[in-house]
């Protein structure tokens, strides 16, 4: 009976010893990459909407403040999605026949809500509150990115827990003065860490409290 393993099998065995860790490493890297890929996180993925609403046009082009539409962002957990009536404050006067705006006019006429696809959302067991963030130095663009450069809205951050905790452990690197909250172009100054520490004191942020589980989960 012939030998099952030829001498070349030795080479194969050695190669396998090298290949297995390489393969495992590749799988791990691949899984890691996949986990943070925009396929899973939806980051930078614009979604088709019933009306192709452009933040770039309305915010950058026309200079409309965030709070004109997201009016309750300073008072409620939920920033608020503008009711059709808000759209119609302008669009009953301008672009009244634009085909693109037909769903808006239909909604207003038939009293049926517009049905937007949600772009930024956290899981149901996370209780995020907009009001406490925008009143304590967290600007819109910190989480939502430069919305004024988005012709179609997309998610700018992963909204992973790790990303939340990163700021909750050291909010100083992201806090900005109260008059800059809604400024889309705000960039951290060179001495942000120093300024941020001062702002932490100014806003009365108790940094140790921010990592209590019940701050977000209840």
């Amino acid at each position: 009976m012939a030998q099952i393993f030829r001498p070349s099998s030795n080479q194969l065995a050695k190669a396998t010893l090298v290949a297995i860790p390489l393969l495992l490493g590749a799988i791990t890297l691949g899984a890691y990459g996949f986990y943070f890929s925009s396929y899973l996180t939806d980051v930078n993925q614009p979604r088709p909407q019933p009306v192709p609403f452009s933040h770039e046009h309305h915010v950058r082009g026309l200079g409309i403040d965030c709070r004109y539409c997201h009016e309750q962002v300073e008072t409620s957990a939920f920033a608020g999605i503008p009711p059709t009536k808000t759209c119609m404050t302008c669009h009953s006067q301008i672009w009244t026949n634009a085909k693109m705006l037909q769903p808006v006019r239909d909604s207003f006429a038939t009293d049926q809500s517009l049905n937007w696809r949600r772009v930024n959302s956290v899981p149901d067991f996370v209780y995020f509150d907009h009001s406490v963030h925008v009143n304590n130095g967290v600007g819109c663009s910190t989480c939502h990115g430069q919305v004024d450069r988005m012709p179609m809205t997309f998610k700018a951050q992963t909204l992973h827990m790790r990303w939340c905790i990163d700021c909750h452990m050291d909010p100083a690197k992201n806090l900005r003065p109260a008059d800059q909250i809604f400024n889309m172009d705000w960039q951290p100054p060179a001495d942000q860490q120093v300024q941020g520490e001062l702002l932490v004191k100014h806003y009365g942020v108790k940094v140790g409290q921010l990592t209590n589980c019940s701050i977000c989960h209840r």
């Binding site: 996949f34 986990y35 396929y39 899973l40 939806d42 309750q72 300073e74 008072t75 409620s76 957990a77 939920f78 608020g80 999605i81 503008p82 009711p83 059709t84 009536k85 909604s107 207003f108 009293d111 049926q112 809500s113 517009l114 049905n115 937007w116 696809r117 949600r118 959302s121 899981p123 149901d124 067991f125 209780y127 509150d129 009001s131 406490v132 009143n135 304590n136 009365g204 108790k206 140790g208 409290q209 209590n212 589980c213 019940s214 701050i215 989960h217 209840r218």
Partner: protein, 1028 residues
């Protein structure tokens, strides 16, 4: 391959089974195995072991596969969700912020209780008391809390039916209108209307309009468990509609003759508050002080142990016939004119008569005597005379104009209706709510009469028609031609008088879910009013009757505050004592068991039978769930040779029923109690139906002449046995077990830790030492508290055991219902339980003391649960909260195992109903609805803490003391629970924790440093002097 379930024998070899001074069940008192099994195990045998026929190898295979597949679960994408904004936003709604609307809930005797209903974007989710309403003072009872579940009950009637076929409101109007025209032609002689007790002025006005249109029509009233003896006694004593309310804030001595004024009584919430306010005390360096005048004294003679009896200094168990003699003798001893003569009483009763006579005569004008439903109407009238004689009228006992639209003897009223139905003088029967086919007294055979009526075909005239307005397709709907789904009170407009006559306005929180109609809608149709909504009818009525200059602003203010100003029923100041000449009927024959029928303490007369929250709510004293039972004293059980769960036949008044026996310590010997409301033949998935009955129906035993105290009964054991789901053996805190680990079996936990009771005589004249806090050998906790430090103080002296907190917690925190089988395994999910302890010998019920101790997570500073969690799902916050993070929990249950207070609850199955559409509307959006395999427990209502914290961070204002009310604290009628910030020195909670009566449970033994502490209850011995 079958496997024997693992049977762990964990009983200690030689347990020291001496009869304990403080005990929770007769098994514990008697030192039986069953108790020790429960004590040393977290769950009953076989409830926590894997008993499926899987082998260990199968288990490992499945476990391996689960772990592998669990990895894949993390690769799912977030499901896409939608954002659906308003088209025209309502002015006042800010999505994410709840609104509160004042409304008025029907409560005992049809009386209104003011409520504030929390609404999230148009969905009512939680009911709170209305602090401005005199019958609420900010509190509600368990039944009102549970009304939210009634509203969203998927078993509610969802369609109009005509002889079983689905129809519509228009179909009803089209078909009934011509019949009404015909009836109107001859004055409506053939029309009968049956309502429940009416305290709604607008409905009363509409009824008058109906009776104007049909002058010969008759109006009858029937509410099954509605203080019939009390009403009859008032009519007998004064011969005109009179109501009586009580002022407990002025009473020094209170004598209750089987009257439980703390629950199931009109005005109970207010009475409980006023009663407990007179017992508030402080024990500090200068001694014991009463805070609101001298501490009152309560003497209770009772048949079935009640909440009032548990609070009493002296209580005396009596059978109904003994109670009657006792009342007569008391009247005689007090010198009431025309008091009926009685034979001499046994020595104990005689001693009590002497004591009461002395106390009552000493406090003339500052005492009160109350009569309960086991007394007949003659005794009730006699008790009113006693109050006249003692000069209490106008001081502590306040006669008022009746708050009912028409105060009638309802038994006679219903009997008259039955006679009409039988004599073919009735052509159309309109039943507005109520369920008489189920809850009418047995000897009226109402269901049979109604069936004969609807099936009869008279020789002339149209066939008879029965119409039923009801929330459910129930026993009565089944026998009626037309069924109309009723709108819940949270869906309709209305008005209700409170126990003192204050008119509360009911406003809808949501449009009717199933196109239901309110009684106002239906009466308006019968009155021929067309094209007016119930709101317009209500508003027009009050526009006419509200004496005010500017109606519009007065109306808006009334809607905002929930009640109309100055609408209290006027007092009757010159009410003469009635003369009682009527001879008393002979007492029940001796030597037989006397039968007592009472509404169930949870589901009432059966109208809330399909409410899972109330079904699973342990009854305050027996701690039974999901069942009623034949309750009797341990001595009687021994004499009859019956045990817990043995099914007996009960024969009384010519009817026989079967039910399981339950031994009730403190129950009077010689009588049995059965709770009504169970054994529904047509209810729903919680209340049961004729195929799958929940409990047994005791209404057949009631008769028109004997409703509550239903005469002699005989008991015959059947030899069958039935398992009853009683929670008193679940989640037991174990003093001896802990002690055996420390000092070799010597009981080191003082009694006061488990059932805190101090004798007043031992406190009086003493004072709290300046440094009363024991020095600790243990090092200070490692945690550094930053900012707030939340803590709670619970006054066991103020806790009346009413269960309102348990229901409020369930409603606020989305706790699921698990069902009877799971309760039997100790898996009920309530975050608060009220431990009920007894002190004394069950053989001597007169000396038996009952103490309630509400128990939820203690938020220990050195929490044993946190140390053992392998995934850090339970952790400590910087503010001292013991946090439970559901999404981290993997369900090892180590934490629950390590909790000495036994307050953690595990979701063994998917208990929360995630699929039923209506329940999705019901849930509190600020609390996670837990999934299977997750541990949960009291969070100190962290969602409310966070709400206040965020508001304070947004407004830059500190959180004021009292701004955060936990759900249990907010609902408590006696304000026994106080929550606050321990770092805020003036906060009320700190004052209470510094009191000499305050103690931390099990802290001395385990050094858990619980954030929740208790104030001990003080037992006020009988005393002539006022103290402090």
């Amino acid at each position: 391959m079958s496997h024997q379930p693992i049977q762990l024998r964990i009983l200690p070899a030689t347990p020291s089974r001496t009869a304990p001074k403080v005990w929770r069940s007769l098994d514990e008192q008697g030192g039986r195995d069953q108790f020790y099994e429960s004590l040393y195990r977290e769950f009953p045998p076989n409830a926590s072991e894997l008993t499926d026929s899987q082998s260990r190898r199968d288990f490992l295979k499945l476990a391996g596969a689960s772990v592998a597949l669990a990895g894949l679960a993390s690769c799912t994408r977030q499901p896409e969700t939608r954002l659906v904004p308003y088209v025209h936003p309502p002015e006042e709604i800010i999505p994410g912020k709840p609104l509160f609307y004042a409304s008025c809930a029907p409560s005992d005797g049809g009386r209104g209780v003011g409520v504030l209903v929390e609404s999230h974007e148009g969905r009512p989710t939680k009911i709170e008391g209305n602090p401005l309403h005199p019958a609420s003072l900010g509190a509600t009872d368990a039944q009102t809390q549970a009304a939210i579940l009634d509203l969203y009950d998927p078993d509610r009637s969802q369609s109009y039916t005509r002889n079983g076929a689905v129809s519509t409101w228009d179909g009803f109007v089209g078909s009934v209108s011509p019949v009404l025209e015909q009836l109107a032609a001859d004055g409506g002689a053939g029309l009968c209307i049956l309502t429940t007790t009416l305290t709604c002025p607008t409905q009363g006005d509409l009824l008058q309009k109906v009776l104007q249109r049909f002058p010969k029509a008759s109006w009858h009233q029937w509410s099954a468990a509605d203080h019939h003896q009390r009403r009859a006694g008032l009519l007998r004593a004064y011969d005109k509609p009179v109501d009586i309310t009580y002022d407990f804030s002025k009473a020094d001595v209170i004598v209750s003759l089987d009257c439980d004024f703390l629950s199931q009584f009109p005005g109970a919430l207010t009475y409980a508050r006023n009663f407990i306010d007179r017992r508030r005390i402080r024990f500090d360096q200068s001694g014991l002080h009463a805070l609101n005048g001298p501490v009152n004294r309560l003497y209770v003679m009772e048949t079935t142990p009640s909440l009032a009896g548990a609070m009493a200094e002296h209580h005396l168990p009596l059978t109904p016939s003994q109670l009657r003699d006792f009342t007569f003798t008391l009247a005689g001893a007090l010198g009431v004119p025309n008091a009926p003569p009685t034979a001499a009483l046994p020595p104990r009763q005689q001693a009590m008569i002497q004591l009461l006579t002395q106390r009552l005569t000493q406090s003339r004008g500052k005492c009160m005597v109350l009569a309960g439903e086991t007394l007949d109407e003659y005794s009730h009238a006699l008790v009113h005379q006693i109050n006249h004689h003692l000069g209490n009228m106008g001081h502590t006992v306040l006669p008022r104009q009746s708050v009912e639209v028409q105060q009638v003897n309802q038994v006679q009223s219903l009997s008259a209706l039955v006679a009409k139905l039988q004599s073919e003088r009735c052509q159309m029967l309109l039943i507005l709510e109520g369920n008489p086919a189920y809850d009418a007294p047995g000897d009226l055979h109402f269901a049979d009469v109604l069936k004969t009526f609807t099936l009869s075909r008279p020789r002339q005239g149209p066939p008879p028609l029965a119409i039923h307005l009801s929330l459910y397709q129930d026993e009565t709907s089944f026998l009626c031609n037309w069924h109309i789904p009723a709108a819940h009170w949270l869906e309709s407009w209305g008005d209700l008088r409170a126990f003192d006559g204050t008119v509360g306005l009911t406003q809808p929180l949501i449009a009717p879910l199933y196109d239901g109609k309110s009684a106002i809608d239906l009466l308006a149709f019968f009155a021929g009013i067309v094209g007016k909504s119930d709101y317009e009818i209500l508003r027009d009525y009050w526009k006419e009757h509200l004496q005010t200059g500017d109606f519009e602003s007065a109306w808006r203010l009334a809607l905002q505050q929930g009640h109309l100003p100055n609408s209290t029923s006027p007092l009757i100041n010159d009410l003469p004592p009635a003369s009682l000449a009527a001879p008393a009927p002979p007492p029940a024959p001796a030597g037989q068991m006397e039968l007592i029928l009472r509404p169930d303490p949870c589901i009432g007369d059966g109208r809330q039978a399909n409410n899972g929250w109330l079904q699973e709510l342990p009854k305050p004293l027996t701690k039974l769930t999901w069942d009623n039972a034949v309750l009797l004293s341990p001595a009687d059980a021994k004499r009859l040779n019956v045990e817990n769960g043995q099914v007996v036949k009960v024969a009384a008044n010519g009817s026989t029923i079967q039910g399981p026996v339950w031994l009730f310590p403190g129950h009077a010997d010689g009588c049995i109690t059965i709770h009504l409301g169970y054994g529904r033949a047509k209810s729903g998935r919680a209340g049961g139906d004729f195929k799958n009955q929940v409990g047994f129906n005791a209404y057949p035993l009631a008769t028109t002449s004997a409703l509550t105290s239903a005469g002699p009964a005989t008991l015959t054991p059947t030899g069958q046995h039935m398992e009853l789901a009683c929670t008193q053996l679940h989640q037991l805190i174990d003093p001896k077990h802990l002690a055996s680990q420390t000092t070799n079996g010597v009981q080191t936990i003082p009694d006061r830790d488990l059932a805190p009771l101090e004798e007043w005589s031992e406190l009086v004249g003493k004072a709290l030492p300046a440094h009363s806090k024991p020095l600790s050998l243990f090092p200070a906790p490692e945690h550094q508290w930053d900012g707030h430090a939340w803590g709670m103080s619970i006054d066991t002296g103020a806790c009346i055991g009413c269960n309102a907190c348990v229901m409020a917690c369930q409603s606020e925190n989305n706790s699921p219902v698990v069902g009877k089988e799971q309760v039997l395994m100790g898996r009920q999910m309530h975050w608060i339980r009220i431990d009920r302890y007894y002190r004394g010998d069950p053989a001597d019920p007169q000396q038996l003391r009952t103490i309630f101790q509400p128990l939820m997570c203690m938020h220990c500073e050195t929490a044993p649960c946190e140390l053992v969690c392998p995934v850090a799902a339970t952790s400590h916050s910087k503010e001292g909260l013991n946090e439970m993070t559901y999404n981290r929990c993997v369900g090892t249950r180590y934490c629950s195992n390590n909790c000495p207070y036994k307050v953690r609850r595990f979701n063994f199955f998917q208990y929360s109903d995630l699929n039923t559409a209506s329940y999705k509307l019901m849930h509190n959006p600020n609390v996670t609805v837990r999934a299977r395999g997750v541990m949960e427990k009291c969070t100190y209502c962290v969602q409310r803490i966070n709400e206040a914290r965020i508001a304070s961070k947004v407004s830059d204002q500190p959180i004021p003391d009292g701004a955060i009310l936990t759900a249990c604290q907010q609902v408590c009628p006696t304000q026994a629970i106080v929550f606050g910030d321990l770092h805020d020195p003036p906060a009320k909670v700190n004052r209470l924790k510094a009191d000499g009566l305050s103690y931390a449970m099990l802290d001395e033994q385990l050094n858990t440093r619980p954030r929740t502490t208790y104030l001990k209850r003080v037992r006020w011995a009988d005393a002539q002097s006022s103290e402090g």
